[in-house]
Symmetry: none
Subunit: 243 residues, 2 copies
DNA sequence: AGCCGATCTGAGCGGAACTTGAGGATCACG
DNA sequence: CGTGATCCTCAAGTTCCGCTCAGATCGGCT
């Protein structure tokens, strides 16, 4: 059974490869997200049954790698990370991870979880051939429509103008901008931007969306999807053709 | 989306039913393993997408219920229990559970995990009745007849043209397109697209089908099956038999 | 404590989405 | 063919949901 291990720490990787090997896995070790994505393109070989995604500290990248993997393949992903906070867990799972394991973990349990997702199997290799135009996944500062998002500095600028945002406004924008075009449902937004388990009682979300909108001053950027949630309209002509 | 909750504590169950209901699940509550197994035998209704298995202290029984469920059905199971020790975790996962969550848990995380296993979907049930409808579950964008359904973005396009749909219209199309050719019965449609088992009194369903049809402008795509429900006519020349 | 910005809540508005009802079309079956 | 059941269309209601504004509350800072 082939397994793809994504791990940037050589020593951890070596240990894992050894253990997994002893348990019957044929492990391919990728040192970076980029290498992992390369390894996942179908090459006629037996496909990977599981991806073990363990990016050390730059977890932001880990999340991104996860959603990119998910965008291009149906292979099950287990995120393994030191970030144990609930927000990160939820975020990882919502991004498409099948399981989320925090360090330190028990090796036996990890093995059991690997088997669990492996036996559940890959989704119908999501898009066999045709997926030309999909996945404009965002990396680094989002640069579209003149918007620049600096996640580390928590800074946003539009056409060079610096736009000061409050915490919630920024988190909201950061979340939505992760995958421009995809609809984030209300519950998902609440669970990721607010403390989890919190049910938005009043008009909280709408108000923040509102203020985000007029601070950015980019009409049509943040679109409400009635009864579902919100999304960002990506660059191009989204063709707001009416019925 | 139907969900089976197995929980022997009434109060815990009530709370969970409430929360899950608010998050769009149609929850059936089973008080015992026996009841759960009963509930799982196929009865023509929409099948359960996830089982939440939460047997309080008599965990021994919990394990047994899990493996019995697994023996008879491919439905994903999440074990929720107070037993946090590694041995139990491993045991549960090896018995066929898809995830193992220990109390106390974060509600948001539980929801995320439910969604994770639900989107991975049921494995072909090992034992039960002849699975005639091999349900070619659609994962990536559906591409057939020039119609493209992007569930993440909630976008539908026909021959490249973007077709804006309302919520019900989209949900309807998304449901029917899950298994093109298979007839969805009215009650089934109502229980999936509308909340809670509510028998559509008026001509609601027909109206929505109607507007879906002329928005898509693909004559013959959505077919009514008299007295039963609706279905999508798949690509091929399934029956050019004119009369 | 007192200030000030950020966040939350509630009411009202407007419009999109949904529902309902009636009449006409179509189908299955005798 | 005739008839009843079922489905489709159209044009009202009616509900629901997102937007805005204004005031209340929270929380960090001096």
């Amino acid at each position: 059974m082939r397994l793809l291990l994504v791990e940037d720490d050589e020593r951890v990787a070596a240990a894992l490869v050894a253990v997994l090997g002893r348990h019957g896995f044929q492990v391919r070790h990728a040192r970076s997200g980029h290498e992992a994505l390369d390894a996942l393109v179908p090459d006629g070989n037996e496909p990977y049954r599981v991806v073990l995604l363990d990016l050390g500290l730059p977890d932001r990248d880990g999340f991104e790698v996860c959603s990119r993997i998910r965008a291009g393949s149906g292979v099950p992903v287990i995120m393994v990370t030191a970030r144990a906070d609930v927000r990160s867990r939820i975020h990882g799972l919502n991004l498409g991870a099948d399981d989320y394991v925090t360090k330190p973990y028990d090796m036996g349990e990890l093995l059991a979880r690997i088997h669990a997702v492996a036996r559940r199997g890959a989704a119908p290799s999501s898009v066999p051939a045709p997926a030309p135009d999909t996945v404009p996944q965002q990396r680094g500062p989002l640069e579209s429509r003149g918007i620049r998002i600096d996640r580390e500095r928590r800074r946003v600028s539009v056409d060079g103008r610096d736009v000061p945002l409050t915490r919630k406004e920024f988190d909201l924008l950061a979340l939505l901008s992760q995958s421009p075009g995809v609809v984030y449902r209300r519950e998902q937004i609440f669970s990721e931007v607010w403390r989890s388990g919190w049910e938005g009682n009043g008009r909280t979300l709408e108000v923040h969306i509102g203020s985000l909108r007029n601070k950015l001053a980019l009409p049509g950027l943040v679109e409400a999807v009635r009864g579902v949630g919100y999304r960002l309209i990506p660059d191009g002509p989204s063709a707001p053709a009416e019925h």
